[in-house]
C-alpha cells in the first residue's frame, strides 16, 4: 500500500501559497512530516484527509484517486487534527459511539465492543462516562487517537499530536503510534525532530510549501556526514559568522553561543567537525 502525491499545489484565497508542487510517495509505516510553523504541513494533511481540495496535482492511495472519491477515501481514513473541540456535555463513550456510527460501524454489538476496546487501549475506560470537555490535554489527545483508530483505518493522519503533551505522555503516545504502524500508513507532522528520529522509517521536510528533503532519516543524516562543523563563539560575533559561513543553527551554551555550520570543505579552521544529527539535517534544509 502506498500513498502517492504528485505535483500537489494549493493557493489560498488570500494569496498564500500553501503547497507548491509537492511530490511524495508514502509507504506503510510511520511517516514523519517535519517543518516549521506555517510550512504547509497542515494544509497537506487536510488535503489528504479530504477536507480541502488542491488546485493542481493528484493524490492516489494505490489505485484510488482520493480527490475524486473522497467518500471512498474516508472509509480508510483516521484523522486526528491539530486542534479539535467536542460537543458540550457529552461523555467519551457517547461521543466515540457517535463517531463510530458516522464511520460506518452500524452493528451496535460490534460498535459497543469496539468502543470498549478503544477506550481501554487509550486508558480512558475509567472516565468514559465523564464529559470530554473536562478532559486534560493529554486525555483529550488520547481520545483523539482513539477516534482516529475507529474502523481499522489504512491511512492515519495525525497533525502535531505531541504538542502540549508532557515528555512522559509524549513517549507513550509515540509508542502507541509505532505499535499500530506495521500494517498501515501513518503520517504525522511535528516540528520536534526527535519524534521523527526515534520512530520513522521515512520522512520529509517541508518548508514554505515545498518538499526540501525526503527519505530515510538515517540516509539523510549520512548525506550530511563530514559537512557539519561546530564552534563556540561570543554572542556578539554571531552576525559576523553568519556573513562568512552557512550557519544552520545557533544555541546558547554556558553564556556563549554554539553554532553549527555546513561546508563542503574537508577542514574548517577553528571549527570542529561533528557527526551530524537529524536536527542538523532539518536546519540545513530550512535555512
Amino acid at each position: 500500500m502506498e500513498l502517492i502525491i504528485k505535483n500537489l499545489s494549493k493557493t489560498y484565497a488570500n494569496g498564500t501559497k500553501a503547497l507548491n508542487n509537492i511530490n511524495l510517495e508514502i509507504p506503510t509505516g510511520l511517516f514523519g512530516l517535519l517543518g516549521p510553523n506555517g510550512a504547509g504541513k497542515s494544509s497537506l494533511m487536510r488535503t489528504i484527509a479530504t477536507l480541502q481540495d488542491a488546485d493542481e496535482g493528484s493524490l492516489f492511495l494505490d489505485d484510488l484517486d482520493v480527490m475524486k472519491n473522497k467518500d471512498e477515501m474516508r472509509k480508510y481514513l483516521g484523522y486526528l487534527p491539530q486542534e479539535f473541540g467536542v460537543y458540550p456535555s457529552i461523555s467519551a463513550e457517547d461521543l466515540l459511539e457517535h463517531l463510530c456510527v458516522l464511520k460506518g460501524v452500524v452493528n451496535s454489538k460490534e460498535r459497543k465492543e469496539l468502543v470498549k476496546v478503544l477506550l481501554n487501549q487509550t486508558n480512558l475506560y475509567e472516565v468514559r462516562k465523564k464529559n470530554v470537555g473536562g478532559y486534560s490535554g493529554g486525555m483529550k489527545q488520547r481520545f483523539g487517537i482513539a477516534q482516529a483508530l475507529i474502523g481499522s483505518p489504512k491511512v492515519i493522519i495525525v497533525d502535531e499530536p505531541t504538542a502540549g503533551l508532557d515528555p512522559a505522555e509524549r513517549n507513550r503516545f509515540l509508542n502507541l503510534l509505532s505499535e499500530i504502524s506495521e500494517q498501515v500508513i501513518i503520517i504525522f507532522s511535528t516540528h520536534i525532530v526527535d519524534d521523527v528520529k526515534e520512530l520513522c522509517n521515512n520522512m520529509a521536510v517541508i518548508n514554505k510549501g515545498e518538499v526540501v528533503a525526503k527519505g530515510n532519516p538515517q540516509d539523510l543524516i549520512n548525506e550530511l556526514k563530514g559537512k557539519v562543523f561546530q564552534k563556540v563563539i561570543e554572542k556578539y560575533d554571531l552576525e559576523l559568522y553568519k556573513n562568512s559561513h552557512r550557519v544552520i543553527s545557533n544555541r546558547l551554551s554556558a553564556g556563549k553561543t554554539e553554532i553549527h555550520v555546513t561546508s563542503n570543505e574537508v577542514n574548517l579552521s577553528g571549527f570542529e567537525l561533528i557527526s551530524p544529527s537529524l536536527e542538523d539535517v532539518y536546519f540545513d534544509k530550512i535555512v
Partner: protein, 1186 residues
C-alpha cells in the same frame, strides 16, 4: 483611570461598524415609520399627527422592547471581550480597582447605547422634516417632544436593561449566555406583559412593566387626538414611581454584580469544577482491535440517518435554554387562554377548537424563535464546537447529515406541537371541561399548522447553508419575516410571493375545518415543494471540510451540480411552478383578486363613473318572493326571484339601475322585467346595469321583476374571505340578491383613501338637515316595508331557515325544502341560514320561541329563552305590541363574532352567547344581554327606523341598548349594572381617544359603535335615573306609536329627541341636552370623607368634593364649564352595593356635604355608581375610617 477605561470603551465602540449599523437600523425604522406606512409601530391614525409627541413616545417605547437585543449586544460583551482577548491578564496586573474597571466599562458602553438608541429620535426628527409629507399630519418641531422620551424612557430603560446585560455578561463570560440574554429578556417581557395586561390593579400593572409602556398608556389612555398632538407624557404618578423603581433595580443589580465579580480569570460558577484525575498510562501490551465491519449500503445510511436525528435531538434537549423557552411558551399559553375574555370580562368554554387555535397562535412566536435559533445551531453544530475536522473526514454522506439534521428539527417542532396539544388538554381538564377532541387537535396541529413551520425550517437551513456566517444567517432569516410583511403591504398580496405564507382560517366548533384545510393544502404543498427546492440548493452548497472561500464554494457547487442534480432541480422547479400556477389560477382568475391599491381604485372608479345616477328615481321593491337552493358543500346558491317593484314617485320611471354585488361569481343569469325593456349599459366586473323600459312606469304602477342566477364560490382563496356558504353553518343575507339604484355603500369611506383617489371628503352620514335623505332607511335604498315569502332548500341533513313562518316542509330529490311566509311588513333586509341544527322550542303567551343550535352547545340556551321571555314581556308592556308570532335564535360559525336581528330571526355567532361561560356568579350574563338587545331590535329598527342622516342609530342601537339595560336591571339588580356600565364607560373613553374622524354628540353620531352602543348605554342609564324609567318608556312608546311601520319619509334623531324632551321637566332639560347634544365630561373627586356616630346611633358622613365639568369639541379640545347639575352623593357598603344616594344640585367646583344613614358604610363620595361620564371614576369615593 476609570475615565481612561471609559474612553477606551467609547473609542472601541466608535471604531466598530456594528455601532453604526445598530444606530442606522433604529434610525431607518423610525424614519420609515414617520414618512411611510410600511412600518407600523403603535402608529398614529386619523387626527393624531404622524410626529405628535404621543406618537413619538409610543414609537420610542415599542422600539425600546426590540432594542433590548441591541442593548444586550453592546452592554453584554465588554468584560467578556477582555477575557476572550486575554486582555484581562494585562489588565488585572495594573493597579486599577475593580470598581474603576467595571464602572468605566459600564458607563462607556452605556453612553454608546444611549447614542445608538437616540437613533429612534433622530430618525423621527429627520423624518418629520421631509417636505413631501402632508403638512396636516405634522406638528411643528418642538424640542420637548424629543427630550421628554429621552429622559423618561431611553435613559432609565438602558440603565436597567444595560445593568442586567452587563452584569450577566461580566459574571458568566459566556458568549452563549450573552447571545441569548437579549432574546430571553424579550420573551420574558412579552410574557410579563400578558400577565400585567390581565391585572386588575392599575398600580401593579404600571409598576411591573420595566419598559414603562403600561405606566405611559395609563396616563395617555383617554387622551383625545387634540391632547395627543400637544402634550408630552409627564413624568408623574405611576410613571415616575415606575422609573424610580427600575432605575433602583438597575443600580442594585450593578452593585450585586460588582460584589460577585471577582478579579480573577475564573467566571462565576455555582458548580464546583472537579478536575479529572489524570489517567496517564496507555497500557499497550499489544494493540489488538476487534474486527469491525464498516458497511456503506442503504441500510447503514438509514442507520446513520436515524442515529444523527437522535443525536441532534438529544443535543437540542440538553441545552437548558430549550427547556426554558418551552416552559415560558407554555406559561404564556396558559396565561393567555385562562385570562382571555371575549366580551364584558366573560370568556368562552375551553372548547378544543377555541383554545387550540389560540394556543397555536400564542405559540407561533416561540416556534419562530426556536426554529430560527436552533436551525442555525444545528447547521453550525460541528463548526461551533470545532469538531468539524474530525466529523467531516468520516465516510458519512453529505445528504445523510443534512437530511438527518433537518428531520431532527422537524421532529422537534412536531414534539412542540404535541406540547401545545397537551397544554390545551391540561387547561381543559383543570377547568373541568371534559369534552376532549383529540382528533381535531392532532389534525389542526399537524395538518394545518405544521406545514408552514416545515417550510420555515427548510428555508432557515437553506439560508444557513448558503450564507456561511451564523449571525448573518440569523439576521437574514429574521429579515425575511419583515420582508414578508412589507411584501403584503406593498402590492405582493398573493401568498405565493410571501415566503411560507399559507392562508389562515378560523376553526369553528360548528363547521370544524370546513373546506379551508382542503384549500390551504395547495399552499402547503407549494411551499413544501419550494422548500425542497431550496434544500437541494443547500446540499449543493453544503460545506464539508475547511474551505470557506467563495471561490472554492462556487467550484464545489459546480462540481456537485451534475446532470442528476440538474434534472432534480429542474423537475422540482417545474412542480413548484405548476403548483404555484394552479394557486394563482384559483386566487387571481377564479376569485376577484384585488390588492389593496387596486381595490381602492376599483371602488373609486365605481363612484366616479356612476355617482351621476344617484338621483335617478327608482321604483321601490314592495314584494319579494325568492326561491333559494343552498348547496353547502359545493359553495353554490341557485337563486330565483319574483319581485314586484312599484313606482311610488309622482313622476314616471323609465331607467332601472340594477346592481348584482356578487356578479363576479355569478353565472346562468336571466333578468327579465314584466314589461319590455332593453339593457342599455352593462359593466360585468362591477355588476352594474342600466335597463331602459320601452314604456315608462307610471306613478302608482307596478312591474314584475323576474330573475335567476347561480352563485358559486371557489374554495381556494388567497385569504379565506368567503365564509358565508360553508359545509355546516351557512349564513348569508340579502346582499346576494339584486338591488336598485346607485349603491353608495360601494363608496370608499376612509377619507385618507379617498384623498389618494382624488375623491372629495365624505362624511359618515348625511347632515341631519338634508331632507332629501329622509326618503330612505339607513339600511336600504330601494325599498320601504315589503312583503316577504320564500322557498329555501338545502341538503337532506340540514335545516334551512329564513324570515317568516314555516308553511310547509318537504323532501324532494334528496333535498329538503322549506316554505316560509311573513305576515307583517318587514324591511328589505333578510337572512338565510342552513345547518345541521338541533331545535329547542318554548312559548311566551302566543309567541313561539325557537333556538336552533349546534349539538353540544346547550350551555346557555335556557338563559337565552329566559331573556327572550323577559324582553318580550318588558317591551310589549312598555313600547307596544310585538309584530311577529315567533322569535328565533340561530347559531352560526365563529367566522364572525356578532349577533344580528332580522325580522323574527336572530343569527347569533357561536362565540357570542352559545359557548360563553356565564356561570360564574360575578360574571355579567352576556348571552342574556345580547339576546335582550337583539329582541329589542324587533321594535327599534324593525318597527321604527331612521334615515341615513346623523344620529340614525339612536333609536335603533342606542334604544336597543337601553331596552336591554332595563331588562337586565330588573333581572340582575343595580350592583351588576354598575359593573356593566363601567365596561361601557371605559370602552367609550378609550375609543373616543382613537377616533379617526370627529367625535359627535350622541344624538348626531355617525354610526360610530363606541357612541351608539357604549356611550349610548351610559347616557340612557343616566337619563332614566334622572327623569325616571317610566318617563323614558313613555317617550319611547309615543315615538313608536307615531312612526310604527311608517315612511317614507322616515324619522330622524331630532324627531326622536323631541319625544324625550317632552317627558323631561324644564329644570332638567339642560342636563338632558348635555347628555345628548354635547360631548360632556366630568372630573369629580372625593377629597375627604369622614364618618361619626351621632346620638341616635346613626352614621353621619361628611364629604369634601371637587366637581369639574367640561365640554369637548370633536377632536377633544376641552373647555371647562360651569357646573349646574343634579349629581348623586352617596355611600357604598363593602360589597359595593349602594346603601345611600341622594341627588344634590351642585353649582360650585368645591363643596362640602353631610348626610346621615342607618347602616354602616364603607366608602362615600360623589356619583357612587359612576353614572356620569367621568374621566377618572376611580377617585369618586373615599374609604371611610372608623
Amino acid at each position: 483611570m476609570m475615565l481612561k477605561i471609559l474612553f477606551f470603551e467609547l473609542r472601541y465602540r466608535l471604531n466598530r461598524p456594528a455601532t453604526y449599523i445598530y444606530f442606522g437600523i433604529l434610525f431607518f425604522i423610525s424614519f420609515l415609520f414617520i414618512t411611510t406606512d410600511i412600518v407600523q409601530i403603535g402608529g398614529s391614525q386619523g387626527n393624531v399627527c404622524r410626529n405628535s409627541p404621543f406618537t413619538i413616545n409610543q414609537a420610542v417605547l415599542v422600539l425600546n422592547i426590540f432594542a433590548a437585543m441591541i442593548c444586550s449586544a453592546i452592554m453584554g460583551v465588554p468584560v467578556y471581550r477582555d477575557f476572550e482577548h486575554r486582555f484581562h491578564e494585562i489588565l488585572f496586573s495594573t493597579p486599577i480597582s475593580k470598581l474603576q474597571y467595571l464602572l468605566g466599562r459600564f458607563l462607556g458602553s452605556y453612553l454608546i447605547t444611549i447614542v445608538v438608541m437616540s437613533g429612534t429620535l433622530i430618525g423621527i426628527m429627520v423624518g418629520s422634516a421631509m417636505p413631501y409629507l402632508n403638512p396636516e399630519q405634522i406638528v411643528p418641531f418642538n424640542f420637548n417632544f424629543y427630550w421628554q422620551p429621552l429622559i423618561n424612557i431611553i435613559l432609565p430603560n438602558v440603565l436597567f436593561m444595560g445593568a442586567i446585560f452587563f452584569i450577566i455578561g461580566a459574571l458568566t463570560r459566556n458568549i452563549f449566555a450573552i447571545y441569548v440574554q437579549g432574546i430571553l429578556f424579550l420573551v420574558l417581557y412579552l410574557i410579563s406583559n400578558t400577565i400585567t395586561d390581565n391585572l386588575d390593579n392599575q398600580l401593579l400593572a404600571s409598576l411591573l412593566d420595566p419598559i414603562g409602556i403600561n405606566a405611559s398608556s395609563e396616563i395617555t389612555k383617554f387622551w383625545t387626538p387634540a391632547q395627543r398632538n400637544q402634550l408630552t407624557v409627564p413624568l408623574v404618578g405611576h410613571l415616575l414611581y415606575n422609573r424610580l423603581l427600575w432605575i433602583s433595580i438597575g443600580i442594585i443589580i450593578f452593585i450585586v454584580g460588582y460584589r460577585l465579580f471577582s478579579f480573577s480569570a475564573q467566571p462565576l460558577s455555582f458548580k464546583k469544577k472537579k478536575a479529572l484525575v489524570q489517567q496517564d498510562q496507555i497500557q499497550i501490551q499489544k494493540l489488538e482491535l476487534p474486527v469491525t465491519r464498516l458497511s456503506f449500503n442503504f441500510t447503514s445510511n438509514l442507520n446513520q440517518f436515524l442515529h444523527i436525528i437522535r443525536f441532534e435531538m438529544k443535543m437540542i434537549y440538553r441545552t437548558p435554554i430549550f427547556v426554558i423557552i418551552i416552559l415560558l411558551a407554555v406559561f404564556n399559553v396558559v396565561i393567555n387562554i385562562t385570562e382571555n375574555t371575549e366580551m364584558y370580562g366573560i370568556s368562552t368554554f375551553p372548547t378544543t377548537v377555541k383554545i387550540l387555535q389560540e394556543a397555536a397562535d400564542t405559540f407561533a412566536l416561540f416556534f419562530i424563535i426556536i426554529i430560527t435559533f436552533y436551525t442555525g445551531e444545528l447547521v453550525w453544530r460541528e463548526r461551533s464546537n470545532k469538531i468539524n475536522q474530525i466529523s467531516d473526514a468520516l465516510p458519512v454522506k453529505n445528504n445523510t447529515i443534512l437530511f438527518a439534521k433537518l428531520f431532527a428539527m422537524i421532529a422537534m417542532v412536531a414534539f412542540l406541537n404535541l406540547i401545545v396539544i397537551l397544554t390545551c388538554t391540561c387547561i381543559q381538564f383543570l377547568s373541568g371541561y371534559h369534552y376532549y377532541e383529540w382528533l381535531t387537535a392532532f389534525k389542526y396541529m399537524y395538518l394545518a399548522d405544521f406545514p408552514s413551520y416545515l417550510f420555515l425550517i427548510m428555508f432557515a437551513f437553506f439560508i444557513h447553508a448558503i450564507v456561511n456566517n451564523k449571525f448573518l444567517g440569523h439576521a437574514i432569516v429574521i429579515l425575511t419575516y419583515i420582508i414578508n410583511i412589507a411584501l403584503d403591504m406593498n402590492g405582493f398580496e398573493n401568498k405565493i410571493w410571501q415566503l411560507g405564507s399559507i392562508p389562515s382560517f378560523t376553526l369553528s366548533d360548528m363547521n370544524g375545518f370546513g373546506h379551508f384545510l382542503k384549500a390551504a393544502f395547495w399552499f402547503q404543498l407549494y411551499w413544501i415543494i419550494v422548500g425542497i427546492f431550496l434544500l437541494i440548493i443547500a446540499t449543493l452548497f453544503w460545506i464539508r471540510g475547511t474551505e470557506f472561500s467563495l471561490k472554492s464554494r462556487i467550484k464545489l457547487f459546480k462540481s456537485r451540480f451534475n446532470f442528476k442534480s440538474k434534472l432534480t432541480t429542474a423537475s422540482i422547479m417545474i412542480l413548484a411552478i405548476f403548483c404555484g400556477s394552479y394557486i394563482y389560477y384559483n386566487t387571481n382568475m377564479l376569485n376577484l383578486f384585488l390588492p389593496k391599491n387596486e381595490r381602492r381604485a376599483y371602488m373609486a372608479n365605481f363612484e366616479k363613473k356612476y355617482k351621476q345616477y344617484e338621483k335617478i328615481l327608482q321604483p321601490r321593491v314592495v314584494d319579494v318572493n325568492n326561491e333559494v337552493d343552498i348547496f353547502p358543500r359545493e359553495k353554490r346558491l341557485i337563486i330565483r326571484g319574483k319581485w314586484w317593484l312599484k313606482n311610488i314617485h309622482n313622476k314616471g320611471v323609465d331607467t332601472l339601475i340594477l346592481n348584482l354585488s356578487e356578479n363576479f361569481y355569478t353565472k346562468n343569469k336571466h333578468i327579465n322585467f314584466g314589461i319590455l325593456s332593453k339593457k342599455i349599459f352593462a359593466n360585468d366586473t362591477l355588476g352594474f346595469y342600466l335597463y331602459k323600459l320601452n314604456k315608462p312606469l307610471k306613478p302608482g304602477d307596478s312591474l314584475q321583476f323576474n330573475f335567476s342566477y347561480i352563485i358559486e364560490y371557489p374554495e381556494i382563496e388567497n385569504e379565506f374571505k368567503q365564509t358565508s356558504i360553508v359545509d355546516n353553518g351557512t349564513f348569508f343575507n340579502s346582499e346576494v340578491f339584486p338591488s336598485f339604484g346607485y349603491n353608495s355603500e360601494m363608496e370608499i369611506s376612509n377619507n385618507d383613501d379617498r384623498k389618494k383617489e382624488n375623491l372629495p371628503k365624505r362624511k359618515l352620514s348625511y347632515a341631519i338637515s338634508d331632507s332629501a335623505k329622509y326618503n330612505n332607511t339607513y339600511i336600504s335604498n330601494d325599498a320601504d316595508w315589503i312583503n316577504f315569502e320564500t322557498i329555501v332548500s338545502t341538503v337532506e341533513n340540514q335545516i334551512a331557515v329564513a324570515p317568516g313562518y314555516l308553511q310547509k316542509e318537504w323532501k324532494q330529490n334528496g333535498r329538503r325544502y322549506f316554505h316560509y311566509k311573513m305576515d307583517a311588513p318587514i324591511l328589505n333586509f333578510y337572512a338565510y341560514l342552513s345547518a345541521d341544527y338541533q331545535v329547542k322550542k318554548d312559548k311566551w303567551n302566543d309567541v313561539n320561541i325557537e333556538i336552533y343550535y349546534q349539538k353540544g352547545h346547550e350551555y346557555n340556551i335556557d338563559k337565552m329563552i329566559l331573556a327572550i321571555k323577559h324582553s318580550l314581556a318588558y317591551y310589549t308592556k312598555n313600547f307596544g305590541p310585538y309584530q311577529h308570532k315567533q322569535a328565533r335564535i340561530l347559531e352560526f360559525p365563529a367566522y364572525q363574532s356578532f349577533a344580528q336581528a332580522f325580522p323574527n330571526t336572530i343569527p347569533y355567532s357561536e362565540n357570542i352567547g352559545f359557548i360563553l361561560n356565564v356561570n360564574e356568579p360575578k360574571a355579567i350574563d352576556v348571552s342574556y344581554y345580547v339576546t335582550a338587545h337583539e329582541i329589542a331590535h324587533q321594535w327599534w329598527a324593525h318597527q321604527v327606523i331612521g334615515c341615513p342622516v346623523d344620529g340614525m342609530t339612536v333609536f335603533s342601537e342606542t334604544m336597543s341598548q337601553y331596552s336591554a339595560l332595563m331588562v337586565m336591571k330588573k333581572q340582575f339588580g343595580k350592583a351588576k349594572m354598575k359593573k356593566f356600565l363601567a365596561y361601557e364607560l371605559d370602552e367609550y373613553l378609550s375609543n373616543r381617544a382613537r377616533e379617526r374622524e370627529k367625535e359627535q354628540a350622541l344624538l348626531f353620531n355617525q354610526n360610530q359603535p363606541y357612541l351608539h352602543y357604549n356611550k349610548g348605554s351610559v347616557v340612557m342609564y343616566a337619563l332614566q335615573d334622572l327623569i325616571g324609567e317610566e318617563k323614558v318608556n313613555a317617550a319611547a312608546q309615543n315615538f313608536i306609536q307615531k312612526y310604527r311601520f311608517k315612511g317614507p319619509p322616515y324619522p330622524n334623531a331630532l324627531d326622536f329627541y323631541s319625544f324625550i324632551k317632552a317627558e323631561t321637566p324644564d329644570s332638567l332639560k339642560h342636563m338632558v341636552d348635555d347628555l345628548f347634544l354635547r360631548i360632556t365630561l366630568f372630573n369629580n373627586t372625593c377629597k375627604k370623607a369622614t364618618v361619626t356616630l351621632n346620638k341616635e346611633k346613626k352614621y353621619v358622613i361628611d364629604v369634601e368634593l371637587s366637581i369639574q365639568k367640561f365640554y369637548a369639541d370633536s377632536i377633544g379640545n376641552e373647555k371647562t364649564t360651569n357646573v349646574n347639575d343634579w349629581i348623586d352623593i352617596g355611600a357604598l357598603d363593602e360589597n359595593d352595593s349602594l346603601l345611600f344616594s341622594q341627588k344634590v344640585k351642585i353649582t360650585k367646583n368645591k363643596m362640602n356635604y353631610q348626610f346621615v344613614m342607618d347602616h354602616k358604610p364603607s366608602k362615600a363620595g360623589i356619583d357612587p355608581l359612576n353614572q356620569l361620564i367621568d374621566k377618572d371614576g376611580e377617585d369618586n369615593l373615599m374609604k371611610l375610617e372608623f
